[in-house]
Amino acid sequence: MSSAEPAAILDGAQSTLALLGAPLGYALLIASVVVFGLAVTRLRREWLRPALAVLGALLVFGEGLLVWFHWRLWEASALVDPRTGATTGRIFVAPWTESEKLYVWALILVAMTLLARRHAREMEPYLGGSVSALTVGAVLIGRPFTHPLPDFLASLKGYLAAQGSGNGPAWFAAFQQLDSMRRYYYDTWYMWVHPPLLFFCYGAFVVSFAAVVLMLRERRAAYETTAYRWARLGYLPLTIGMLLGFPWALMSWRGEAWWWSGKVDMSILLWLLYTAYLHGRLYLRREGMWKWVAVLAVLSFVALVLTYLTTYVVPGAHSVAG
């Protein structure tokens, strides 16, 4: 197969994604502003849930578009070993990679917001605000439709260009780089398990924090129970997701001091704090204990935000910061 066909598939897919994604991005921004306005101003509160449903539907449509784009990338990414002429594999990039992380977080959170039953109405303004903020961040910072998967596409386009150039050494070098990424990153089982488990727990922890804020404002024990239930829901995927990252780290970052990567450290801190929060709650009936539990809940959530940001500001093995 000549390289013209994959390159054409790639260009076509990227054009279609931008064509549909650009107006979708504006629609997501408008829906986010509406949801945020309804959440903050408390005017027309009865419209908040339908507005969240519209935002959720737009996010789902966008996710479908991204999955279609990834499927087209899979078609365009047949990696041919220049030495043998054999195809070593294709790459189906998981739909929570690079520019898509905030988007998936927003999608999971809007689903949880719409599915929550206990204290759903009271939590909606907080969760609506959070979903709006994540969606705006996903569209303006992540830019999954207009600037999709920048690192992966740069590598794939470089490989396709080298393949088409007829320059054997350049083709081989590009092949080696991308095929290595395929085997140790893009095409690995843990890419389909580790990130989604963590995004699920991130969503659950945001809902838990909304209930903690309500508890602190209203001083009602029932909100504390809601916060605990959501934290408990997020804790198991957090534990399993982090555990599954361990063999991945050993294989992918051999020779590097990955355990002192800021993201890894902050993730461990996050796990420790949620562990302390969930265990501290066992002693909730003791006098004054609820304050300590609330402090731990707030600190845990701060750690969650810092863990996410660390990826982008602190350099290290598990980081995209310079």
Partner: protein
């Protein structure tokens, strides 16, 4: 009052665990902030000797903390099985085994591996006895599901520590790690979600 010393021992172990984990957490946070600061202010810090020195210093600080966590984790095991006098003897025996193995092999890693293997064996006995509903096991929580969850969770942690300490470069790493992940997952689920 035979329960009092055991609860005191439980409390001491719990406080030690909290202090060691908090220290490791604080070290991680300070280290992360330092990396963020150094990368911004020292040109070429990440590529130069500065980063290597940082890693060496962090490892040096963390080693006694990790060793302490391993020791406390092992000491948490026999408390479920034995009364006070036997508990002291078995705990001391576990520590002596680790020290002797470490000294004989001139390796802290070997000593910790031997200690963890013995602790894992004891914890497996605890788990089996919990499944069999044997009397005499001591738990702070109520309910058989939570007891079994706690037993599996501890066994999972011990096996995971064994992987970290001794099996990172072994062909057994993945299967043993998989076992620890299963035990930790099942243990967490039962500890937090079991009704009783």
């Amino acid at each position: 009052m035979p329960a009092t010393p055991r609860r005191t021992w439980d409390f001491i172990l719990m406080m030690l665990t909290v202090v060691l984990l908090a220290a490791l957490g604080a070290q991680s946070l300070v280290g992360t902030l330092y990396v963020w600061w150094a990368q911004r202010t020292i040109a070429g810090w990440l590529q130069g000797p500065g980063y290597a020195s940082y890693v060496a210093l962090m490892n040096a600080f963390a080693t006694p903390l990790v060793a302490g966590i391993v020791v406390v984790l092992g000491l948490c095991v026999p408390k479920r099985l034995f009364e006070r006098r036997t508990l002291v003897a078995v705990s001391a025996g576990l520590v002596l085994l680790g020290v002797a193995w470490g000294v004989a092999g001139r390796s802290l890693q070997n000593g910790m591996a031997a200690y963890l293997t013995a602790a894992a064996g004891l914890q497996a006995v605890v788990a089996v006895l919990t499944v069999q509903r044997s009397g005499g096991l001591s738990y702070l929580t109520e309910g058989r599901g939570r007891h079994l969850g706690s037993a599996l969770l501890h066994l999972g942690f011990i096996v995971f520590c064994l992987v970290v300490v001794a099996l990172q470069d072994s062909a057994l790493m993945l299967p043993v790690f998989g076992l620890s992940a299963l035990l930790l997952g099942a243990g967490s689920a039962m500890s937090f979600y079991a009704k009783g």
